[in-house]
């Protein structure tokens, strides 16, 4: 499998120079499963949120796109309650736009962009989408609420150690995240409490 060698390269790249606000690592002992965290970009309702994602790498990768979904609930027109993401690069042509020259890093970046710029014309969650289109304020409110409720716990956990003051500092965020991953067992329990 090309998958293994490619994944290895991707992972080393990801850890060497992670894109801003993104971290990604291999799930324990699993070759085909990765975890990632995205930091909600400043200026979006997801700001200060940290979102966990699950990445399943199919056997045929990179000839087939990885399957990515949000583990952290997120209020977004293109992400459903199961965390599935409606994004063209996550699908094979002709319907989708996946190509083997994309990689996990670029996908995560695309997802980050999608978070910042929802695409209400291709909604997965119709109600959220119409809210986004016609009642933007309400949407923002809800999204922020969800972020605070579901995505900020981790941050708080992290925040105790790392000054969360600079959400804008992408590098810093990435660094946090990586540490966060190490802490993940701890993080999980607090997150579930609320």
């Amino acid at each position: 499998m090309q998958r293994a060698s490619r994944l290895k390269r991707e992972l080393s790249l990801l850890s060497a120079e992670p894109p801003p606000g993104i971290s990604c690592w291999q799930a324990a002992n699993r070759l085909d499963e990765l975890r990632a965290q995205l930091v909600g970009a400043a200026g979006t309702p997801y700001e200060k949120g940290i979102f966990d994602l699950e990445i399943l790498v199919p056997e045929r990768y990179p000839f087939e796109p990885p399957k990515i979904r949000f583990l952290t609930p997120i209020y977004h027109p293109n992400i459903d309650s199961a965390g599935r993401i409606c994004l063209d690069v996550l699908k094979l042509p002709p319907k989708g736009a996946w190509t083997p020259s994309l990689n996990i890093s670029t996908l995560l970046t695309s997802i980050q962009l999608l978070m910042a710029e929802p695409n209400p014309d291709d909604p997965l969650m119709a109600s959220i989408s119409s809210e986004y289109k016609y009642k933007k304020e309400l949407f923002l409110l809800n999204a922020r609420e969800w972020t605070a409720k579901y995505a900020s716990q981790q941050k708080r956990a992290l925040g105790e150690k790392l000054e969360p003051s600079d959400p804008s500092g992408p590098e810093g965020a990435a660094a946090q995240k990586r540490k966060g991953s190490a802490l993940s067992p701890k993080e999980k329990s607090p997150r579930l409490e609320p």
Binding site: M1, Q2, R3, A4, S5, R6, K8, R9, E10, L11, S15, W25, Q26, A27, A28, N29, R35, P62, F63, L92, P93, P94, A97, T99, P100, S101, N103, R178, S181, A182, S184, P185
Partner: protein
Amino acid sequence: MESSDSSDKGSIDQSEAQRQRQLDRLDREEAFYQFVNNLSEEDYRLMRDNNLLGTPGEITEEELLRRLHQVKEGPPQQNNDENRGAESTEDVSNGDSIIDWLNSVRQTGNTTRSGQRGNQSWRAVSRTNPNSGDFRFSLEINVNRNNGNTNPETENEPSVEPSSGEDLENSQSDSEIPRSESPSVRQPGSERSASEELTTEEASPPRGQRRARSRSPEQRRTRARTDRSRSPIHPVSETPRRSHHNTSSQTLDHSSVNEVEGSSRTRQHVTLRQHTVGTEMPSENAVLFSTPETRPVPQAAGSSETNGTSESAAPGQRPPTIVLDLQVRRVRPGEYRQRDSIANRTRSRSQTPNNTVTYESERGGFRRTFSRSERAGVRTYVSTIRIPIRRILNTGLSETTSVAIQTMLRQIMTGFGELSYFMYSDSDADPSGPTPNQNVDVSEPQNGGGGTSGNESADVSSGEVYEGGNEGGSTSGARREGRNTRGSVTFEESGSLPFLSLAQFFLLNEDDDDQPRGLTKEQIDNLAMRNFGESDALKTCSVCITEYTEGNKLRKLPCSHEYHVHCIDRWLSENSTCPICRRAVLASGNRESVV
């Protein structure tokens, strides 16, 4: 590895082991590239086409080498087998085996296989032309009468040609019905079909007509041979079921090339097209079922072009053998679209400016389209059957499906004659029922002299109505054939027939519709290829994210993006765009024209 933070205990050993594994892997990977680089283009193709390359790092060089040798040696061995005779291979006895065989053919390219079932034995040979991607398959079926001793000869005859269904049909009929007739005796009257088949030469006048009209000399010959061959061993009896005979006869008769075109994978429906060519443009061939001029048993060892070579065996000695030659070629996306659309547009019949007549019928979810066009005195008949793939997959060969498949096969097998298309009766599907309606509709328009058909059909119980498409006035003859063919052909249980399996194979072989479209091997091979040289600027293959090393084989797409051959070939086999710029690798214009 980062993940190991949490589980550091066991991870030390693990990581040790893992490191070792990775090192091994890297070695293998390197060896892989080395190996690929050293392959000649031909060998590379051979291996790629047969899916023998595996993945870098996964497979050892030795293994690759072994596979290569295997592949290379494969064909000759198989030939030998063929020549040696069926005995060795005969073990395979059921219809499924053909499918297995076909599948193995897909993987290995050239194969020969034979088997025996009941009193019929079959031998199938396939060759794949790595360059063109064409697939040629021949199937020969010999039927031994139960009473008749199986002649060793039969088995030995390496006839390679694959004639599938027809033989079966014949054989079946033979086998089913024990007939006692002496070889020579044919009953001319009622059982025309039988007689027709057999009697070419001696043929009664009517037959003669028939033949006369369109048949080339060769065809006749064929028949004659067939007759001979059969007669000694199997007396041709009148078949109670004419259909069988009919079918067979037709097939034999028509030497015209029929092409069945497989639909491209992408299509939603599998289209089997038969192209009978009166004189047509040879251009389309996707799947070609051609009855080569059937020579009774082509002994020529599997060579694809069997016809010429193999006549040596004395026909008389052999049991009836029928040979079918089938060529399959993948239809490129879009290739036939135009025609399809024409067919789709016209419901029932319509006359297009081109003198094209299209008939369309639908039955049990299978759409059949027949169209005829006449241009400059040349008539072209195209008949298309579309079967939703899913259906077949889901149902397996359920009854409906099998009926439909049968029908389709029959058409394929039978349809060698121009006329037969018309005839192509649904009635066949239900042996008993004449389902003449459709046929009728169809038939009328086509025949210039449609009128004739009626008579003949009368003989045949099922409504074979049409036989119409005669070319240039040979109507009467034509219709005859038609009717013969069309009789109620009964298939034995569908599942059991190899040729049914065949059809199934072709259907199954079509990839799922939802799959993205890819390029054909030919198309891929036409793309530029070069070796990476030391002087080139350092670049990385974006598929495997590995830097090129000297000697790497690179393929350059029209957009001038480059990749490792083995990386891009795999992508292009399922997709048609450049991974980097997403530009279509083939200009859309090319698509239609590449043939």
